[in-house]
Symmetry: C2
Subunit: 143 residues, 2 copies
Amino acid sequence: MPYRFTESVPYLLNRAGVAVAERFTRRLEDYDVSLPMYRVLAVLRQTGTHTLGELSAMVSVEMSTLSRLIGTMAKRNLVTRDRPQDNARIVLIDLTDDGREMADKLMPIATHFEDTLVSNLDAAQVETLKALLRQVNQQVEKL
Amino acid sequence: MPYRFTESVPYLLNRAGVAVAERFTRRLEDYDVSLPMYRVLAVLRQTGTHTLGELSAMVSVEMSTLSRLIGTMAKRNLVTRDRPQDNARIVLIDLTDDGREMADKLMPIATHFEDTLVSNLDAAQVETLKALLRQVNQQVEKL
DNA sequence: GCATATTGTTTGCGTTTGCAAATATTTCAT
DNA sequence: ATGAAATATTTGCAAACGCAAACAATATGC
């Protein structure tokens, strides 16, 4: 079988990713939250305090970009950045109460997206999809 | 089961997509070709002439961004833009010989990525993954 | 304990991006 | 045939981005 770009895994991933991101971004407009901001809120809500580096890896946002993003999120009182005195080179980022409130408010949108995206699949298929995506992710290391 | 952001379909899609894109971008550096440029080359190589709008939809790049990108690609003699006299509001974009040559040169990278990404899956799993990604893509309309 | 390497974050800077408005052409209704 | 609506592309502009360099703190080897 010949290689067809539009059926390649990178193409399909990008296509789906961009399409979902566009729609999600539009839905977030009412809340004055960008998609990367939402991702930060969602990760912190799920797993608590993280350093900038950890957060960067988890949300797939370049560290320099994230540094600035966290800056504006801190100004908006969505997150705090703390330099612990026992290790003053790291920055610990955490949700403020406002941040948590915002994250909670956005959850219904997220669950609606999740539900809709897989609404034509059965539970087993959904698990298969996610397992395969995780495997693709692992393979990335080998590139 | 509670909603876990880091296991959601949008998160997994984005994570995989960004990771693959980063690596691909690095691999393209030697050729002075950006990832969006590569995508344009690959689509044109696979399916021939397209209008800007069609191309925009196929490569998931915003039209205004693509307009400028095609501009620089034309300057670099990778593509041509033609306004047909029978319909002067569209722009038909096509590969030049240089563009095709470049596209051909990049194909081995693309196939290497494809092969590596799915190298731990069997043929049936690969088809399942792609079918599921296409289904997710379809569901996006319903968001 | 001191210089050096390593780790973690921020900043400078040019490029890319996306939205909205402007522009151009074609289509449609009357 | 003419004006209004629809379609297709480009441009202005401000925000976001990524790389590389700068900066800061901790860890390591001697």
